[in-house]
């Protein structure tokens, strides 16, 4: 597989959310506004890339039966780095993302990539894989957040769109998240079945 393919597969053909169906919790919970989504993407991609690097570096030293705890420890380390950095330099974002920052640890995408890709490949492809998967995750998250922020709070990037209009609050709540993602997945399925024909 060429380096380009390793990178690009995460964005479309193996998109972690739309195709593989993993990492749903942060996707649905933090996509209430575009800025939250972008910060979450940044945080998760950072952890993904660095955990991939370290996992691919130590893969030959680690006995296979304790690899999962070690991967989790590596991931958790980078999550805490993100947590502390955001808390110090972007306290508002840290507050807005809330517990979903520590919960990056249990994001199935990160452990999944460590187990499935980084523990079998060298450093460079692992970095590209992490970057691609992070972008795929972020792209879905941002599109979702774009619609939810416009419909649910009548805002975009925190600025009011139509003054005086009452927004459909349900879009920022859990049902809106489920429905928006359902429509995105539906569209994805429709595209795939058209291609097959």
């Amino acid at each position: 597989m060429s380096y380009y393919r390793v990178f690009a597969k995460g964005i479309w053909e193996k998109n972690p959310i739309l195709i593989l169906g993993i990492g749903m919790c942060p996707t649905l919970a933090v996509s209430t506004s575009v800025s939250n989504a972008l910060w979450m993407t940044l945080a998760a991609t950072f952890v993904l890339i660095f955990s991939n690097i370290f996992v691919s570096l130590i893969k030959s030293v680690v006995p296979s039966h304790i690899r999962i705890p070690i991967f989790i420890a590596i991931i958790a380390t980078f999550v805490i780095i993100v947590e502390l950095t955001l808390k110090a330099f972007q306290p508002d974002i840290y507050k807005a993302l809330g517990i979903f920052i520590p919960l990056i640890v249990v994001n199935c995408i990160i452990l999944g990539r460590a187990e499935e890709f980084a523990s079998k490949n060298t450093v460079l492809p692992s970095v590209l894989d992490g970057l691609g998967m992070g972008l795929g995750f972020g792209l879905t998250l941002t599109v979702l957040a774009f619609f939810r922020e416009i419909l649910g709070s009548n805002r975009l990037f925190g600025y009011t769109l139509i003054p005086g209009m009452e927004p459909a609050t349900i879009m920022t709540l859990a049902p809106g998240a489920f429905f928006t993602l359902a429509i995105m997945l539906w569209g994805m399925n429709a595209l795939k079945s058209r291609k097959r024909r």
């Binding site: 039966h65 304790i66 070690i70 805002r155 600025y159 009011t160 920022t172 709540l173």
Partner: protein, 231 residues
């Protein structure tokens, strides 16, 4: 078997050691910044709830089970100095405690409140912090945005200004508050609840009432202690 257990333990321990070692350094870098942020936040909140006052010492009093933190403030005006107090009030809302800093004058009239911590549902209870932005997205994109010197204060906090905390505060369901409602609501010593989040509103209101009562007790005890020390 034993050798493999030993090796696994060693590797796991080593990983944890390196991880913790690295993290302690990151913490050393970020800790002063976080501390500074938190101090800054507290100063901002104090300036918001006691506008124009010089903030005095911070006191803690053990009232009931929990510690009660309050500040004194002074403002020289004419030939008298006005005294005011700020305290931290806390009550559980829907998810977790809502912590509010409240500023009151000697009579118990609220000078301002600032919600410093909440984790309510976004779109409902979390609207306690929602401020009506002065600019719309199109104005920003087309470059016709107003120069906003400072962010407007959230309406939910704004409406408490002038309410008497020493008496019962009433809650009305009038939808989003605006400046025109102030006189009508103040007459009844009331505030308007956030639509769909009456519980959140009630938690803030209750915490202010309880906090005011606690402040009274704390002040009396402090005066007594001062007197005893004076003798």
């Amino acid at each position: 078997m034993n050798a493999s257990i030993l090796r696994s333990t060693l590797i796991l321990g080593l990983t944890s050691f390196i991880a913790t070692f690295a993290l302690s350094h990151i913490k050393a870098i970020t800790y002063p910044v976080i501390q500074k942020q938190e101090r800054q936040k507290q100063e901002n909140a104090l300036a918001l709830v006691l506008p124009g006052y010089t903030i005095g010492e911070e006191r803690t009093a053990a009232v009931g089970r929990a510690n009660f933190t309050y500040w004194t403030g002074q403002k020289a005006g004419g030939n008298t100095t006005a005294k005011a107090y700020a305290f931290i009030a806390e009550k559980p809302g829907y998810s977790g405690a809502i912590r509010t800093m409240v500023g009151v004058d000697e009579k118990g009239t609220v000078l301002g409140i600032s919600i410093i911590r909440q984790s309510e549902t976004p779109g409902l209870g979390a609207r306690v912090l929602e401020a009506a932005s002065r600019n719309t997205f199109f104005q920003v994109v087309t470059g016709r945005a107003h120069e906003t010197g400072e962010e407007p204060s959230p309406w939910f906090q704004e409406q408490f200004r002038g309410v008497n905390a020493a008496a019962k505060i009433a809650i009305f369901k009038k939808g989003d508050w605006n400046e025109t409602m102030r006189d009508e609501l103040l007459l009844k010593n009331g505030v308007s609840a956030i639509t769909g989040a009456t519980i959140t509103t009630k938690a803030v209101k209750d915490s202010i009432e309880v906090g005011m009562a606690t402040l009274r007790i704390a002040l009396e005890e402090h005066a007594k202690a001062q007197e005893a020390a004076g003798k």
